[in-house]
Amino acid sequence: MDRMPAWADAVLVPLFSIVLAAILSALVILAIGENPVEAFSLMVDGALMRSAGWGYTLYYTTNFIFTGLAVAVAFHAKMFNIGGEGQAAIGGLGVALICLFIPWPHWSLALIGATLGAAAFGAAWAFIPAYLQAKRGSHIVITTIMFNFIAAAVLNYVLVNLLRPAGAMDPATEIFPQATHLPSFQDMFAGGGSLFRGAPANITFFVAVLACVAVWLLIWRTRLGYEIRAFGHSETATRYAGISTVRITVVAMLISGGLAGLMAINTTMGEAERLVMNATEGAGFIGIAVALMGRSHPFGVFLAALLFGFLYQGGAELALWTDIPRELITVIQALVILFTGALDNMVRMPLESVFGTLRRRRSPKPAPTTPSE
């Protein structure tokens, strides 16, 4: 068992893993009779070489940051929140109600209101599973899966029967009032030019970045975060310390649900400017992959979200200009998750022995030490 330097573990392992995933993806592309080089350059071109491409990449990234953070916070408390999808959907309902029924004078106030609303609704949707887990031991994985389905039904009912403008075909609310429209990257950075033209990335991205910082502070700098982590590692020890397990379970899930709910600001208020059905589009599930890949650390979540944002946007470009089915992107995502997340030791083990050999060569006799002395 050889150890390698921390930088190698943090940089080389993911790098090699992604390269492996890319090689396998290229083989898949070859197998369906397309040109992998062309495909990859299209993706990079479309996602990273144009400002609008970035605008899309960052838009998706924003979604994944929120859902990724949501899953990550729950993970720290050793809970597996599969309910991000439902919490985000209900968060959308919160955003819609706040935007539609409160006359906001300015978007900035509306953003604050919607942030609170989205978080409150998302948290509320996580509350019952959390409470049942804490009080009745009902497994949070089952209950959150169930609440995803229930959320879809609620949203379907509300959009078709209650919030849809009369006569409209779309099961969606009407467009939110002008005053609630959030500034997009184009509004913020283009200065009348065509920078970020048409891209949906908006000020919510910065809310997401703030959320990363806030979650980092929460988990590693506050008492609550300390208690959440302690609970996640050892329930018996938290009881010994006098930390209420019920409180931590519920609070961690409320925060998790609230973060998932925040995603709705981006999709609903920032992009669509109305609430549509299925606005979450599976981002809740992507959040699981993002959190796992990001090792539940906000910075890792940010990077993983960026990677998935790139894949989403690159995939869209691919679909636009080639006949490659959109499912290719799903396959690439799967390979990236597999190699960076689950097969990372496949890369790490050989690397470790390489570093081990290097070290032995430098110092022929390993210095005998025992750490307990």
């Binding site: 068992m1 050889d2 150890r3 502070l217 700098r221 506050t222 008492r223 300390y226 208690e227 982590r229 302690a230 590692h233 050892s234 018996t236 020890a237 009881r239 010994y240 310390a241 006098g242 930390i243 209420s244 390993p366 210095a367 005998p368 030490t369 025992t370 750490p371 307990s372 002395e373």
Partner: protein
């Protein structure tokens, strides 16, 4: 007794080395053990004893070295091979399936044929036989999780015997046993020895080494420093070989100066989750500047007593600290409230309760006190303050290595215990609850831990000590209460009692020696 010189050694290890990453756990170790003997191995925490034995059992693979069993060179790449070579091992941390029955655990890996029924039937017969032969009786249909540690250990031994092991390795078998259980174990070992089996015994207790082994090896920092005939050595000499300096084997303390009662407990009752009454009206008090030792066979309510007083089990009755009644259930009865009320608690199980193993040492040094204003600035925690505090405490308690940036899991048991003690004692509590303070800890660390507890007593604090080590109870306590079946059987003064009498009380027998000096220690 010992086998004649000309017979080949049952076990011979030559030049065994093993490294875990940068740590050299075993360095060129050679050892011979004659058949039909009991061979002891002692050494400080982390000296490499367990590693060496795990190599012999095929659990770890040695980096270098050879193994000879009964004179023949034997490759032991895995436990299967070790079992085939006639080796059985009882690990320090038992390798049992908790929700299996005894029988199932015994046959696991040694089944005859694809179906369980015949194997179980056969094992039942063999177990009965073994039980008679070696005083190894356990209910074959009991679930492991329902058994006491002592019985669990018997299952481990049965597992080895069922596989017809001729060589039995026991890694710190008495660390978790009561004196009675330990005596019983030694009777079993003597019986096995008579049958011609070879036994390797790892322990931290010199008394046991002296009592039962034929030869003894001492390990230090991965090396085998000495092997001697037990008859030709003394505990003091062994201790010095182990630690590299003179060790005080008895607690050095002045007589207590007890003050007013600080902790008063009256009629404490507690019912556990499965509805069993664990505390049946316990009353006791602990005075300032005294150590009250609670002796008892584990499972008689001592753990529950600590949990209730420590604030994580509900109870009825009255508990007063400095005359102030404290709540025993509902709000204000949790561990946090207890700490604010001046009760500090060194829990019995440091790995599951006292520490968060993946947390850094400095995070653990704040655990339970993390809401202390000293460690907080507004909404955020003041990590710098915590780290400074931890560095300081770790230095003072001689935690090795004194690095607050290591996770708790990478400290040895003794050093983990020091971290917990440092945290609890240094808060200067009114009352200190201590459970099994030296379980699995080497003698060097035991000496230190005992000194610290006495020092706290001498500063006028009340200390409630729970331990299954009668030696520890007898040498540390100023007054001894014996618990049996959720009640206090009686109180004794350490100078006026002995192991035999305490043992009787612990077994629930009051008999003739009825309460020689109730309350006499209060004077």
């Amino acid at each position: 007794m010992a086998a004649p010189e000309q017979t080949r050694p049952a076990i011979e290890l030559k030049g065994i080395s093993k490294a875990f990453g940068p740590v050299q756990a075993n360095k060129d170790i050679s050892i011979r053990v004659m058949p039909g003997t009991i061979h002891g191995i002692i050494g400080e925490n982390g000296a490499g004893k367990s590693t060496l034995m795990s190599i012999l059992y095929g659990f770890y693979k040695a980096d270098a070295g050879e193994i000879f069993i009964n004179g023949t060179h034997t490759e032991i790449p895995d436990s299967q091979a070790a079992i085939k070579a006639g080796i059985g091992m009882v690990f320090q941390h038992f390798k049992l399936v908790q929700n299996f029955t005894v029988l199932e655990n015994v046959i696991l890996g040694a089944e005859d044929g694809g179906l369980l029924k015949p194997s179980l039937a056969k094992a039942r017969g063999v177990l009965k036989h073994l039980a008679e032969e070696y005083e190894l009786s356990v209910d074959p249909d009991a679930k492991i999780e329902d058994l006491s540690v002592g019985h669990q250990q018997r299952v481990e031994i049965l597992k080895a015997l069922y596989r017809e092991a001729d060589i039995l390795i026991l890694d710190e078998p008495t660390g978790v046993l009561t004196p009675a259980e330990a005596d019983h174990l030694f009777r079993i070992l003597e019986g096995l020895k008579r049958e011609g089996k070879t036994i390797i015994l790892i322990t931290h207790k010199l008394r046991e080494i002296m009592e039962i082994t034929d030869t003894v090896s001492v390990m230090r920092r991965g090396e085998m420093t000495a092997t001697v005939k037990t008859a030709e050595t003394t505990p003091e000499q062994l201790a010095e070989l182990m630690v590299g300096r003179k060790v005080l084997l008895r607690v050095d303390k002045v007589p207590a100066q007890p003050g007013r009662p600080v902790l008063e407990v009256e009629n404490l009752r507690h019912v556990d989750e499965s509805g069993v009454e664990r505390l049946k009206g316990v009353s006791l008090d602990v005075r300032a500047g005294e150590i009250l030792g609670i002796a008892g066979v584990s499972g008689n309510g001592q753990s529950e007593l600590l949990e209730v007083l420590g604030g994580y089990a509900d109870a009825t009755g009255t508990v007063r600290v400095n005359g102030q009644e404290i709540p025993l259930s509902g709000p204000g009865s949790d561990g946090r409230a207890r700490r604010h009320g001046g009760i500090a608690h060194v829990p019995e199980d440091r790995q599951h309760e006292g520490l968060i193993m993946p947390f850094y040492a400095w995070e653990n040094v704040g655990f339970g006190y993390h809401d202390d204003p000293r460690f907080n600035r507004g909404l955020l925690m003041d990590n710098a303050a915590l780290q400074a505090d931890a560095t300081d405490k770790m230095k003072r308690y001689d935690v090795r290595p004194p690095n607050p940036w290591l996770p708790a899991s990478s400290f040895s048991g003794g050093n983990q215990q020091k971290i917990v003690l440092a945290r609890e004692i240094e808060r200067d509590p009114e009352v200190l609850l201590v459970g099994q303070p030296t379980r699995g800890v080497d003698i060097g660390a035991i000496e230190f831990i005992h000194q610290e507890i006495v020092r706290l007593r001498d500063s006028g604090k009340a200390i409630l000590l729970v331990s299954v080590e009668l030696d520890e109870i007898l040498s540390l306590s100023d007054r001894i209460a014996v618990m049996f079946d959720g009640t206090i059987m009686g109180e004794r003064l350490p100078d006026e009692t002995d192991q035999t009498e305490l043992g009787m009380l612990m077994a629930g027998m009051t008999g003739a020696t009825q309460s020689r000096s109730q309350g006499a220690g209060h004077a």
